[in-house]
């Protein structure tokens, strides 16, 4: 077998990508449909000198990787809906304390324990607003193993660049499906390493004093500098404060560092958009069904196109507005009650041309499902 070609599940592709990105530490609590991530990680990570820990629950899992990240490691955890709910408090902490980490949510049906073995994309809004308080967040997704490999590495890079948790919102179909994966040679995909402070031992280090470019160099916790980390609003030393000016400045910083860089963060793929009169907007596994349909209908002369989002948050309003400007119909294909369609309606100039094509019964949305909804929207009847 050639080493660089693999035939693997999406969950395994995610593991390989994390290792490629330089993952040092993984803590998790296995849950369907993300279990294979923990399973493969337990084998693969120690082989390259990393540490794998199975924790008592998802709260501890996220807390463990937050701690490990502070000490200078690249870290990740993986879960599904129920575990993701438990992680929301610590997620807010990581956002507030600006700690780089990658959290994978292989989505299943919800709410609650829901449908463990079936497909859903119901956690997209939880990714945005699951943790309390105003905050910026980065959430990515992918529809094929090759894209998933690249996007996982991108998640680690963004986490380091913006000192923030990055959410990788996969789904049961992508996680469990097996397909081909090329693992590139080391060095082929650029990696962002931890920005470390140049402040020497014995000199004051301000953990929360941004440089001119807004970035905050880190010092490995437990190393040469002593500093405080808290979920409370804090000053440049990391100590709690309720000074309105500092509170305002910190909250603006947390929002702006992500929202002002949408143009750098947002990734998407487009198919046949140039002359499309009907544009499908989709992401994750749903985008595979949408693309199948688009290619199929193109062969029959229908002017259908697909815009596949790989960055869900921060939402790329500008890209949606620009790409969908000339479409007669914009149809958002997702497996939920309409979580991205809301944002698309906000993004376009005439929201009445935006529709939802969805499926919420645990079944994977098929090209036929989408085709029937398109026909209804176009007034042709199924």
């Amino acid at each position: 077998m050639k080493n660089d070609i693999k035939f693997v599940q999406g969950n395994e592709a995610c593991v390989e990508a994390a290792l490629y990105a330089g993952l040092d530490f993984f803590a998790g609590y296995p849950i369907t449909p993300s279990t294979e991530i923990a399973e493969h990680m337990a084998v693969r990570l120690p082989q390259i000198g990393g540490k794998f820990l199975q924790m008592e629950d998802e709260i501890a899992s996220l807390c463990a990787i937050i701690g490990a990240s502070l000490t200078g490691n690249k870290v990740m955890t993986a879960t599904s809906g129920p575990g993701f709910s438990l992680m929301q408090e610590a997620l807010g902490y990581a956002i507030m304390a600006e700690i780089p980490c990658v959290i994978v949510n292989v989505q299943r049906g919800g709410p609650s324990t829901g449908l463990p073995t079936h497909a859903s994309q119901g956690d997209i809004n939880q990714a945005r607003w699951g943790t309390h308080g105003d905050h910026g967040i980065i959430a990515l997704t992918a529809s094929s193993h090759q894209d998933l490999f690249d996007i996982t590495i991108e998640a680690f890079n963004l986490a380091e660049t913006y000192r923030t948790p990055v959410l990788l919102m996969l789904d049961e179909i992508i996680g469990h499906m097996r397909e081909r994966l090329f693992v590139p040679k080391p060095g082929k995909i650029p990696l962002v390493s931890r920005l470390k402070t140049s402040v020497k031992q014995g000199v004051d280090y301000h953990p929360y004093l941004p440089r001119e470019d807004g970035r905050l160099p880190m010092s490995d916790f437990g190393g040469v500098h002593r500093y405080n980390v808290t979920g409370l609003f804090h000053d440049m030393w990391g100590f709690p404060t309720d000074n309105p000016q500092i509170v305002h400045g910190l909250l603006r910083h947390l929002l702006d560092k992500i929202n002002n860089n949408v143009h750098l963060i947002a990734k998407y793929k487009e198919y046949f958009l140039e002359d499309a009169t009907t544009i499908l907007v989709s992401y994750g596994s749903s985008a595979r069904s949408a693309l199948h349909l688009v290619k199929n209908r193109r062969n029959r002369g229908e002017r259908l196109g697909l815009l596949e989002l790989q960055t869900l948050w921060p939402f790329p309003y500008g890209i949606i507005r620009e790409k969908c400007a000339h479409a007669r119909h914009v149809i958002v294909v997702e497996m939920n009650m309409g979580q991205i369609v809301r944002e698309v309606k906000i993004a376009v100039e005439d929201p009445e041309k935006v529709f939802l094509a969805n499926r919420i019964d645990g079944g994977f949305i098929t090209p036929t499902d989408i085709r029937n909804i398109i026909r209804l929207i176009q007034g042709k009847g199924v």
Partner: protein
């Protein structure tokens, strides 16, 4: 090549899912083809009607599930009853004579082979029924070469199991051959 859409079904534990992964892996790693495999993950994976979908093609595969298989393998009556209505007209339906009594006349090439019986007579271990089925399948429908299957098995099995699996694969191929004559 024409897109080959396969559904393999049987009882959880018979190895249909393993067989489908081996087939798809052989296609991708040793024949330069593109393949996607997915399976039902519910309780049926541990009994009931287990099902695995495989699509093998020489061009990109987007939708990963099979809605109308042109190859359907059923290793139990339950699986046969459940999945036979979905077969594409003119497709290949492969069943095992010991486990499946074909009742309806599907619009398909119906091939019934005594795979289980032959395995028990010549090898005496039902664990290789799935490999025998793969042998019959690749003889009936040109999907991958037997050597490619063997190469995958070499990466997955301890050396002392290889001979039994090779025997099962060859038995399947000869059963497939007999059905063609």
């Amino acid at each position: 090549m024409e897109k080959c859409r396969i559904v393999m079904s049987g009882s959880g534990g018979q190895g249909v899912i393993t067989a489908s992964v081996i087939l798809a892996e052989a296609a991708v790693l040793y024949e330069g083809l593109i393949a996607v495999q997915s399976q039902a993950y519910g309780p049926e994976a541990r009994g009931g009607a287990a099902r695995s979908d495989v699509i093998i093609s020489d061009s990109e595969i987007n939708f990963p599930k099979v809605t109308q298989p042109n190859v359907l393998v059923c290793l139990t009556q339950l699986a046969y009853n459940k999945f036979v209505p979905m077969i594409r007209p003119g497709g290949l339906l492969l069943t095992d004579t010991r486990y499946v009594k074909t009742e309806r006349k599907a619009d398909a090439r119906q091939i019934e082979l005594p795979m289980y019986t032959q395995i028990m007579e010549t090898i005496g271990n039902p664990v290789v029924l799935n490999i025998c089925m793969l042998g019959a399948l690749i003889r009936l429908q040109k999907i991958v070469k037997p050597e490619s299957i063997m190469k995958v098995l070499e990466t997955r099995l301890p050396a002392n199991f290889m001979q039994m699996n090779q025997q099962a694969l060859e038995l399947g191929i000869s059963l497939g051959e007999s059905a063609l004559q």
